[in-house]
Symmetry: none
Subunit: 202 residues, 4 copies
DNA sequence: CGATAAGCGAGACGGTACGTCAAGTCTTGTA
DNA sequence: TACAAGACTTGACGTACCGTCTCGCTTATCG
């Protein structure tokens, strides 16, 4: 799976260089955008030889992606959805938070760049799903499953469909710039999903 | 906005060169992918000087995008949704067709490349919306509006939300590779939307 | 002989760039020496893209060599040996001039660098011989031939040997730093050659 | 002159590593030539850490040069010119042997590479003269001196000039590839030198 | 006789230059 | 004046080595 020939020895890896590279990558993505980002600039800003980047990452996208993950992973370590017992309220909270993040202009540039990369590179997509998306969807499904077992959702509700119904519209609106991503919109989507999935029609 | 000096005269534009360029661009995107596509390769394959490309398009993305649109526009010229009177059946037809297109492997590479470009370049996004997305959403809203007026949807149904509820999940699943895009899935989404929007709960 | 594929068109070559490159190369050889000379530095000093160098020269050595030749060729265009009728005096003049040049410290660094390149690269050696050395040896042989016909040299004197006998010792002493290259030494070599080749023993 | 801090202790030096390095260096010079030779390749082929090379030699040239000397020194330990009493015959023997070595194709690449290095690096030139050239010239002068004292050479013959007269032409012809280096040529040079230096004109 | 310090193999590191590719601009000659 | 052709400057690419710097691991004195 990994290329067998002359793989570098991770135990000798310089933690300092790694951190400097990831930091520089994040800063530069914010500064100049992903498209105008270059490995040379990352190396220069990190005070690092280019080879040190090429030794540990296969592509520019992988570096930025890793930087993004490293910055977000601990935060999402505490990835846990609220469970107040009131499904409607919990979903509203979740979608409001999601909308808020997508609406953040600071997130916009980096997020879009990342999305574009992930879309295009199957390998990055795999890693993105493993490390970020799948866990998120899983906890979401967990919350819905609990609701289903509590009779708050139809017994036959398909949870895979459900999470796409929740996140898909927000994502669609965000990517295409179709309208505001505010609390009102989050609430609308929440309500629509509850109607679609709810046992009594929400 | 456009540089005033020495704008080229469109009336003198060589239709033959334009066609050759767009054709070459499409072929190359399919061959080598968008990332490895270069203006020089397009010019070479089209048998055209580089300057002829730079004269008429601002960027690689614009050329490919234009090629894509030129190839799809006549097809979507007949962009019209069926109206059998049965909203459920009509939406099912629409989403099945959409899912089918997204699932087509031939569409995958080009589509993802285009999506990545459009996501990332605001100018391209604007053009994409004007020429493809907005018209599509508009005819979709038209059909839904008719249904609402026929009392098949809630009187307060928000049509902007509605189209995102329809297309968002498919798009989300497609981009992230979350599962099959088949008729069954299209039908599930259709049903969920009808429940969410329908006057009687679909 | 030359690679057939996509050779650049010499008629489009920029004379200005060529001159700037050759000048920069000469200056840099004098500044930093041949070993520490780089194509990038030449390009930078000449205000020229690297590709323009790679387009027209195959190697660093070829550039410097060309620069050296371009600087020396017109000078040696008037390459003509004196013929006063007195062979001894003429050879003395020739060898004194040769010794003087070799002894010049300014010539030392460039000359040695060039010699090292020429020694090592058969292609450069060929060009060096064609453009500089062979013409020099030829005019020298011409002068000796005239002397031989005038009965000042043995009838069976081998002119190829003769020129090596003249120039070889100076070159040997110069390369190895064996002693001063002054008029006295030039005269000694001259006298020795006359004894070796002269009809009456000089 | 040498940095005082932490000079390596020669008594602890690994003879095995030294040998492996010198052997690898010689092989690689023959394989790829001096120009394409690198310290890393030497280290790799010798199965040695780079530092072990840097610890004991200041430069690539020094390693190769040392390898060359180590290979040739014992051979030339028995550096002694024949003295049969017949100067002509002895010189003929000497120059024939010299020409033979220069003409050896195996010697050509290494010899030229070494010459180029020695020419260019004053430090290497110094060492080359001390360890190889000067001893050779000295024994040559010794033989000539004996001849001079035996009245076979002019009483005022300059021995420094004499050795350059002997070796210079061969070297000149070799470096510039001016003609064959065979017995006939060696004999011609010998005869010319005897005429130039001999008491009676040889 | 066991610690301790040196040479050693390995190889990661910050750098420099390589030779290539493509970007976007400019020039030349053709239709 | 649009065009094909392609040379030009610029700048990034990914690679090869440079010379320095740890790492553990022998190995060979010295306390």
């Amino acid at each position: 799976m990994a290329r067998p020939q002359s793989a570098p020895d991770p135990s000798r890896r310089s933690a300092q260089s790694r951190t400097a590279i990831l930091t520089a990558a994040l800063e530069l993505v914010a500064d100049v955008g992903f498209g105008k980002l270059t490995i040379e600039k990352i190396a220069a800003r990190a005070g690092v030889g280019k080879q040190t980047i090429y030794r540990w990452w296969p592509s520019k996208g992988a570096v930025v992606f890793d930087a993004f993950l490293a910055a977000n992973e601990n935060a999402t370590g505490s990835l846990a959805l609220p469970d107040t017992g009131d499904l409607g309220e919990d979903l509203r909270t979740l979608l409001r938070a999601t909308a808020l993040e997508l609406a953040d202009p600071a997130f916009n540039r980096t997020g879009r760049a990342l999305a574009a990369e992930v879309l295009t590179d199957p390998e990055l997509l795999r890693e993105y799903r493993e490390r970020l998306l799948d866990p998120l969807l899983e906890v979401t499904r967990d919350r819905l499953r609990a609701a289903r077992e509590a009779g708050q959702l139809r017994a036959d509700a398909d949870l895979d469909l459900a999470v796409e119904l929740l996140y898909g519209p927000l994502y669609y609106r965000w990517l295409h710039g179709l309208g505001p991503l505010d609390d009102r919109y989050a609430d609308q989507v929440t309500q629509a999903c509850l109607r679609a999935l709810g046992s009594t029609g929400g």
